[in-house]
Symmetry: D2
Subunit: 141 residues, 4 copies
């Protein structure tokens, strides 16, 4: 069976007061922000940041999909670890899978995002893999 190549980074975050909702637990929508935190940290560590892409290639990388499955509550002040895994694909897409763990190493949630490349000005979708991304994959995977 074909096994796509992957790269995983981990990012530690402390849950803020303002991340929590009226149940005193992280508001579900904020996990989508944590996924972005993980992705941005991955970008810094592996030279694949929003801003680098934008400046190098005049491309933006909007999401076309996100999902999240919640397993456990997390409360304010808790330290969580975001595990962001880049999943190789031949398509003109950036795919990440996420696992978030609490301090007891319990799985808090899992999720996935899919991003595509669009021209930053016209917003037109790129059908083929942009050269910089092909080069990045060859170098990093």
């Amino acid at each position: 069976m074909y096994q796509p190549k992957t790269i995983t980074t981990t990012t530690e975050i402390i849950v803020k007061f303002s991340d929590c909702d009226a149940l005193q637990m992280v508001w579900h929508g904020n996990y989508i922000k944590y996924f972005e935190d993980g992705r941005e940290d991955f970008g810094r560590k592996h030279s694949l940041g929003y801003w680098e892409i934008y400046k190098q290639s005049n491309l933006a990388v909007p999401l076309i999909h996100v999902d999240c499955d919640y397993k456990k509550f997390v409360g304010m002040g808790e330290k969580i670890t975001i595990e962001s895994t880049f999943i190789e694909t031949p398509a003109a897409k950036i795919i990440f899978e996420y696992k978030i763990f609490n301090q007891k190493k319990e799985l808090v949630c899992t999720g996935k995002t899919i991003q595509v490349f669009v021209d930053a000005v016209t917003k037109d979708l790129l059908i083929t893999v942009p050269p910089f991304y092909q080069a990045w994959k060859e170098k990093h995977l």
Copy 2:
């Protein structure tokens, strides 16, 4: 084929400056907030709000799942319509599907949320349908 009963409400929203990201389009995470806007509006129109549930039954209804598929960009000042559809299920769950449209009636995104019932204090999961919800379904579906 079994067709679950559904109830749909529509909610109009004007996209705010602060909903938009550096691409001058709605930040993807804010659609999760729009789903909540739709769900809360449904709750007001059909007596199934977070707060009613909490006060009546001392239950909270956290999400166990959310997904969103993005089709079109939306910019600030645009009027969008959130179509929130309650999907009947025999399980102890609240399921909603969402479609968001722009002013041209183009589909902007689709999504889904699944909520469960937990004791607001102990956070224990309810395995069976709570009586108030059973009564609500009998009355409204």
Copy 3:
């Protein structure tokens, strides 16, 4: 005593679940968002929106000051009224004062914002009142 001319608009908002914090009351930072809601609603009603300014004059109107004094808690589901008052000034500034009231017409908070004009590209500050704003003031005040 000189009394600056003013224009006031009122905007009704329903407090969302996700606006509230762990105390089950609106998180203090969200009032800054409500001020923006009021300002955007003023902009729509009086043709002074972020986006119109940006498109007409290639200017942005960032804040240089905000303050807020909190008087009363507001909880989720409450209907609040934002009173946004444009305060005339000869300077190259946009000044608003805000009062937010709950449903019992009790004062919830007061605040103020000051915005300046900058070139949207270079981010350079405009020292003098831009012509479109002068014209707007002559027409509306």
Copy 4:
């Protein structure tokens, strides 16, 4: 002249994509969140966190005032330093002043928050300094 005692902590933050608005700069309301980040970091370093107060004394510490003066734009990916200074006061209040700097050590904004003590359940205001806070001040200042 009376000079109140102070304690200052510094907190480093990397500006996120989702912190930025359509001008590709930090949205003004997010500085209020950065102040909270600074305050929470102070709380962790000096045992004066929201949660400790809540659990030890069943008190909440809502804001009654915030202000912010903006000096410079900050863009995504920039590293900023939040300087949070606790300002001694004999009143039943917690006062902080903030300075945020960019990587070039340029002042980005200044601000201030004032918090009071309320009973977490009844939301009644405390007029006198609660014993735990008196003890904290004696120990730390």
